[in-house]
Amino acid sequence: MKLQIKDLYVSIEGNMILKGLNLIVNGGETHAIMGPNGTGKSTLAQICMGHPSYRIESGDILLDDESIIEKTVDERSRMGIFLAMQNPIEVPGVTNFDFVKAAVQTRMKKDEHLRIGRFILKFEKASQDLKMGQGLAHRFLNQGFSGGEKKRNEILQMKMLNPKIAFLDEIDSGLDVDALKLVGENVTELKSPDLGLVLITHYQRLLDYITPDFVHIMINGKIVMTGKDELIKKIDQEGYDWVKKELGIEDEEVKPYSLGTCPSKH
């Protein structure tokens, strides 16, 4: 599996967020994307997933050399793209179990039936691995979950769905040290030649547990520098000013934008 992002320009509400971004993620590789706030890291993950609020102005996203920019969100998911969201959405009334079961069933062939016993065992194992506690199956999706539980629940879904390309968008935010270690270990366990990982993070601490093969620095909507471990350490110690200085990048002013409002209150 190969994800290829070619000279991608993406806007929202007239603001250009991604400005000529290029990236290739192969199966088996782990890429870390770091960068200052508002530089387009989450936009990259959301546009690959197909978030309807963003607009591709030019460029392409290819999965195994097939363009996916005309594909719907669900089609992309079934093709193997997964996004562990920064702010997982609460869905009252829908149990975690029903949600994950429905998601797994979308990946089955028409004449295939879910083997429920096997599914339950796998769900319980994933739940235990992530220390989600008893009763997770019957809790409503993300409702009343702590910040850490929401993030661990995203990884649980990833374990159940076996994606080919997974974006983990600030999966470390809201996690305490123990939970971070747990998530790191679980994600590392999932590493395989069939999985390309893209970690979006601000901090070195996540990368202590999930070792990246490539580290990219994103500023002003594009990747401006790529390296390895040494970049992480330098960013952790010195921030991003040295990158801007070295490459002669000036800060840009980005107008505030909205990802839409929630039409119904719960």
Binding site: P52, I89, V91, G93, F99, G260, K265, H266
Partner: protein, 298 residues
């Protein structure tokens, strides 16, 4: 759906048809007057019944009644429930039409001292219906809880009037409406809580929630509180909107199609109502009715 097929094995079943009345319970029936003087669970099924006399259900004990209809022609029902002192009624109603039809149903429920009513109305009616529910809290410490799930699609018109009259001190009412409208359906609600002068320490609350699943569907709710006494507690509200786009996106990002995602969210929306029913057969009947309407129109 043949509801009778699901109910036929029930031991406490009463069926009204134009040709016969079947009653395998100990309930006495005379001119549509039913006396529930023993505590138990009962199923009452009105099968295209042309009502001559108003129904009167007299409740003298702790009783649970499942009142179901499945119409294929016009049949109007007027039913009065009289809850005697300290009696308790848990009432589930499902006014359902198999084919498009037009009907007018009216429930009047009178509660005596310390009587308690929990009512769950399911309205998945195919066609045009005028549905009136009037609850009179006649004596002290009577209390009522009303939960209503209304699902409309395919051009149906549901006109609903709900009114709770607090006519005694220390009476309590609570109304929760769950409304779903799709494909040219119009759900029109007038929800009124009235506390008469002198009926202090009464509590009157109502909450209305609605989801419109298509641009051409309509939900209108007029929540009203008519309060003629100072020392009371009352609240009302209505929140109506379209399905949350972020929830849809989240579900789709896990592989579900638009219609699968909507269906799951709707199931979640109706779950709090359905879980109140506490009877597997009836829950199954209602789930099928709802999913049939939603699936047909998605």
């Amino acid at each position: 759906m043949d509801i009778l097929k699901h109910l036929k094995d029930e031991s406490n079943l009463i069926i009204f048809t134009d040709d016969f009345i079947s009653n395998n319970t100990e309930i006495k029936i005379k001119n549509n007057h039913l006396l529930f003087d023993k505590g138990n669970e009962f199923f009452v099924f009105l099968d295209n019944y042309t009502q001559k006399d108003d129904f009167i259900f007299e409740i003298k004990n702790k009783v649970k009644i499942y009142l179901l209809t499945s119409q294929s022609k016009r049949a109007d029902y007027s039913i009065r429930f009289d809850l005697k002192e300290a009696s308790e009624l848990t009432l589930f109603t499902d006014f359902h039409a198999k084919t498009k039809t037009s009907s007018k149903h009216r429930l009047i429920i009178n509660l005596a001292k310390k009587a308690k009513l929990d009512i769950m109305n399911a309205l998945v009616f195919n066609g045009k219906i005028d549905f009136d529910l009037e609850v009179n809290l006649l004596e002290e410490k009577a209390e009522v809880s009303i939960e209503q799930l209304n699902v409309g699609a395919d051009g149906v018109q549901h006109m609903v009037n709900q009114r709770v009259n607090h006519l005694a001190k220390s009476t309590t009412s609570k109304i929760n409406n769950w409304l779903i409208s799709q494909e040219n359906a119009k759900l029109n609600y007038h929800v009124t809580g009235f506390i008469a002068k002198g009926q202090e320490l009464s509590k009157c609350h109502q909450n209305n929630k609605g989801i419109m699943l298509s641009d051409n569907s309509e939900i209108s709710v007029e929540p009203k509180l008519l309060i003629d006494e100072y020392d009371v507690e009352a609240s009302h509200g209505a929140a109506i909107g379209q399905m949350d786009e972020l929830q849809l996106y989240y579900l789709k990002s896990r592989g579900m199609t638009e219609s699968e995602a909507k269906s799951l969210i709707i199931n979640g929306y109706t779950l709090p109502f359905i879980s109140l029913i506490n009877n597997e057969k009836i829950e199954k009947i209602l789930k099928r009715q709802v999913s049939r309407v939603i699936r047909r129109n998605s």
